[in-house]
């Protein structure tokens, strides 16, 4: 009753005290009317907390060594040059890109196959398999370092990027698979069946009908895999000993644990480490929210 009155052109008496009624059709629902300062003030405070550390590292990376100025001026790129060539961040960067992309591809493909099976079939070991996926979440990768090291030593994969790629993929898989199977469950099975009737095979039906609808979910899962493996540190630290095989986080750690830390080089190295993930993040941010709200916490 009241809602109907409120949308009528005559001003609703119950709400007259709020603010002069705007155009009835453009009105925001009342629950959305939060005083602006209650948004901007806490957000502003939090932004300061978020951005100062970023500014700080940018400052150290751009101002000359020994400077104490709070603005990066005069600006110099010496630190970047030094870190990229002398501290072999160029090589580390290449290795990290390689590990990140390979992990992304492997995780997405394996999780897609497994996730499809979990979403669309009932089979004997399904419950046990789901349970194993959940349990694996409690297995700390860091605590399996020694047996994993022994396995990779057995496989002659110590000092090869393959060991890190496999380890990263394996620990990404369970959650990725659960997420993807939830995304697939959200695509009506009848769509696929309709495609079969039209003469598509299961594979073709999947590629043509289901896959395009999974885009936001796959972007979320794939970018997760990339960002995680780009950032992850312990596996690379343990399995890669040669300087020319190491990844960026290991390089950063080396810079940090040096006897006298070269702050400018550390800051420049940090920026190099941040750029790809920040770019990925800026690109996927929109999909991340939709991807999660579709796939999260069901089943």
């Amino acid at each position: 009753m009241i809602t109907k009155e409120a949308t009528a052109p005559a001003p609703a008496p119950a709400r007259a005290d709020h603010e002069p009624p705007r155009q009835a059709k453009k009105r925001r629902p009342a629950w959305d009317e939060v005083p602006r300062w209650q948004i901007y003030l806490p957000l502003g405070v939090y932004l300061v907390f978020t951005l100062i550390p970023f500014y700080w590292i940018l400052l150290f990376a751009l101002r000359p060594a020994g400077s104490t100025s709070l603005v990066p001026w005069p600006m110099t790129f010496d630190h970047f040059e030094k870190v990229w060539t002398d501290r072999s961040f160029g090589t580390f960067f290449e290795n990290s890109v390689y590990v990140g992309l390979a992990t992304l591809v492997m995780t997405t493909l394996v999780a897609l196959a497994g996730g499809y099976a979990l979403a669309r079939f009932d089979f004997k070991v399904k419950r046990a398999f789901m349970l194993a996926l959940l349990c694996s979440q409690f297995v700390p990768g860091a605590l399996l370092l020694v047996p994993l090291f022994e396995i990779f030593a057995e496989l002659q994969m110590i000092n090869s990027l393959g060991s890190v790629i496999i380890a990263e993929t394996v620990f990404q898989l369970p959650l990725s698979m659960i997420l993807i199977s939830n995304f697939i469950k959200n695509v009506p099975y009848s769509l696929e069946e309709a495609a079969w009737v039209d003469g598509c095979g299961r594979m073709r039906a999947f590629l043509v009908v289901v896959l395009p609808l999974l885009r936001p979910g796959l972007i979320a899962v794939g970018s997760f895999a990339f960002v995680h493996s780009w950032n992850h540190f312990l596996f690379a630290l343990m399995f890669l000993n040669n300087q020319d095989k190491q990844t960026i986080p290991v390089g950063l750690n080396t810079l940090m644990s040096a006897d006298s830390v070269d702050l400018g080089a550390l800051a420049a190295g940090g920026i190099i480490a941040a750029v790809p993930v920040v770019l990925v993040f800026a690109f996927i941010q929109k999909w991340l929210i939709t991807g999660f709200s579709a796939g999260a916490v069901k089943g």
Partner: protein, 311 residues
């Protein structure tokens, strides 16, 4: 030969029809890659950890290696103060981190879920530390906390505090300093997950509540929070496990110090196996950590009645 090739062609269409009739082996083929990877690189290592936990196993002292029964476990519970210290610190670390991250993440999600000018850029900036690694977080905060050129110097310039203050090397400040650094990176995780879940709250509910004259705080308690319940339970659990297991940040930021006061149990285990090469004992510690983690998770899920009306 040419004929054979021509004969080989026709079977294609029947294969299609069979494909849509759900071949029995297909699901097994589909999960096979994942299952094999997990068997080889999670299950097998876990089993070998259980096995080593009953062994004396130290590559630097091979003459002592051999079956040890429950000696390692007895030592953990009766003769290892480090175990208890690091366990208590782990609990404190996880509790404080997850609690604060949830609180700030929830607040942040509610704020950026409103419509306001600059929402897109606001969201992007607020969420951005999510993508930053533990090591990079350490690098950033090492710069901020540096006693000579860090933030304390500029605070001292303004008359706040003293020159040369180093929060990371003082046992009374190192906990807060590490917590703040990890918060900086951890809050966006909760904010993103909660914001995602907020998208599915039915707007009708709010409108109905509005009609009934419910205040925004009441709407939050009676509509928003119950809706978020499962997401909050699951994300706090995942995060707690993650915070417990993850050693990147503390390893690089404090190295477990000063004087071991920021050593978590996993960090202690890593040191025991990597530096002291005492694999047998480290495996026993791992087993204990794993059991504790699993037990706490089950209790948590039971107590929180996760899923409620779940099938």
């Amino acid at each position: 030969m040419a004929q054979a090739a021509a004969v080989a062609k026709p079977p294609a269409p029947p294969r299609r029809r069979r494909a849509s009739a759900t071949p029995r082996r297909l699901p097994y083929l589909l999960i096979a890659p994942a299952a094999l990877l997990m068997l080889g690189f999670i299950a097998y290592p876990v089993i070998s950890v259980f096995y080593y936990s009953l062994q004396e196993y130290n590559p630097t002292k091979p003459w002592r290696n051999g079956f040890a029964g429950f000696d390692n476990f007895v030592k953990i519970f009766t003769d290892d103060p480090m175990f208890w210290d690091t366990l208590v610190f782990s609990a404190k670390w996880v509790f404080v981190e997850v609690g604060l991250q949830l609180l700030f993440g929830l607040a942040l999600a509610l704020i950026v879920n409103q419509t306001f000018v600059g929402r897109g850029i606001g969201r992007a900036l607020v969420f951005s530390p999510w993508a930053v690694s533990g090591v990079l977080t350490s690098a950033i905060w090492v710069l901020l906390y540096n006693s000579q050129t860090g933030i304390t110097r500029y605070l001292a310039d303004m008359g706040i505090g003293e020159y040369g203050t180093s929060w990371l090397s003082d046992t009374s400040t190192v906990f807060s300093a590490a917590v703040v650094a990890d918060l900086w990176r951890g809050v966006p995780f909760f904010a993103i997950l909660i914001l995602a879940d907020l998208q599915s709250v039915s707007k009708d509910l709010y409108e109905a509540a509005e009609v009934d004259g419910a205040s925004r705080i009441k709407q939050f308690w009676h509509i928003t929070l119950p809706h978020l319940k499962d997401a909050i339970i699951l994300s706090t659990l995942l995060r707690a496990v993650w915070e417990f297991n993850n050693v990147d940040l503390l390893y690089t930021l404090t190295g477990g110090g000063p004087a071991g006061v920021t050593t978590t149990l996993p960090l202690y285990i890593a040191n025991t196996s990597v530096d002291a090469h005492d694999f047998g004992y480290a495996s026993a510690l791992t087993t204990v950590a794993f059991v504790i983690l699993l037990f706490c998770s089950i209790v948590y899920l039971r107590l929180s009645k996760f899923g409620g009306e779940n099938k």
